[in-house]
Symmetry: C3
Subunit: 130 residues, 3 copies
């Protein structure tokens, strides 16, 4: 079954740590050994796994993405948010994480981030656990 | 079982909407609840999920990728298509999409694109449904 | 069950071909038809699939990534390795490969690379086969 939860981004580019929500879903599923799939059903948002100890890491990732794909750049798409679409495709719309002994298998420094590129908005995160 | 279909790219960089072909494969599999895995068995092509309403979005994504990874750049690889290899790794070789009630779980604006970076060529797309 | 193996990167940015190790794990699992999931439990390393015939391809990918995300760039993160975190998120922490007739389904030119962005270090690669 697909589980869905809402998320509220607070700025145009916003990385939100969803590790605890994902952990909770895994616990509720009572899965001992399997996979947790995360899917973002939006074309201007993504999911990524990166450090959640020092918030400066996320600050630097957001700044670097903005430099690689500037918001203003003579894009053709009239809605004006092409940079958000490009960032979303570069970062990807899904992640898979192993579940062992009822726990997510993540490295010491790894957290799961919802990546907003065209906020602020209310968004959905989809999860499927097997 | 792995299903394979052919695709013909028409230019060096070409994004081809394969959503309908993937939908057809899901329907033919009679899967009610599961996953659709897409894998591109090439090193200069990718798959991505992004907007398929306004074609200008794809135009802007292709142009941005060309700016981030220019085709001409004193590459060492003698075949001359290193830019295509780099784009392929940045965009990724696989996607996973949930299947619920016999349907692909995609957001309103999401379509699935085969991304050619070294065309025109005949290419394969591999699908596995569980 | 999650299988783990160690890898030793030899420089700051280092792509290591792990295709043979993955093939061996698939053989040992005696899986005829299924999936091989690869997950990198680090925030400054990744996994990617690309050409393993001409080593110049990997040389060009590493050089391009260094140009897109320079190591020195007034980053805020005090550890000084933000560029490695950014590259890791751009390249992704997992790959999925189909298994058919007991073999990995890879294209003719495809190999699997562990991507080090903050080496040299000893790293882990996690594999799960279903």
């Amino acid at each position: 079954m697909v589980k869905k939860f809402n998320i509220h981004s607070r700025s145009q580019i916003d990385f939100i740590d969803i590790t605890l929500e994902i952990l909770k879903s895994v616990e509720e599923s009572n899965t001992i050994n399997g996979f947790c799939y995360i899917f973002i059903p939006h074309t201007t948002a993504s999911v990524t796994i990166n450090e959640n100890a020092d918030p400066d890491v996320v600050f630097d990732i957001k700044k670097a993405l903005e430099k690689i794909v500037p918001f203003e750049e003579n894009y053709k798409h009239l809605e004006g948010n092409s940079a958000a679409h490009i960032k979303a495709s570069l970062m990807g719309s899904s992640e898979i994480i192993f579940i062992e002994s009822g726990k997510l298998v993540l490295g010491t420094w790894q957290g799961i981030y919802f990546c907003e590129f065209d906020g602020p908005r209310t968004r959905n995160v989809l999860i499927k656990i097997t």
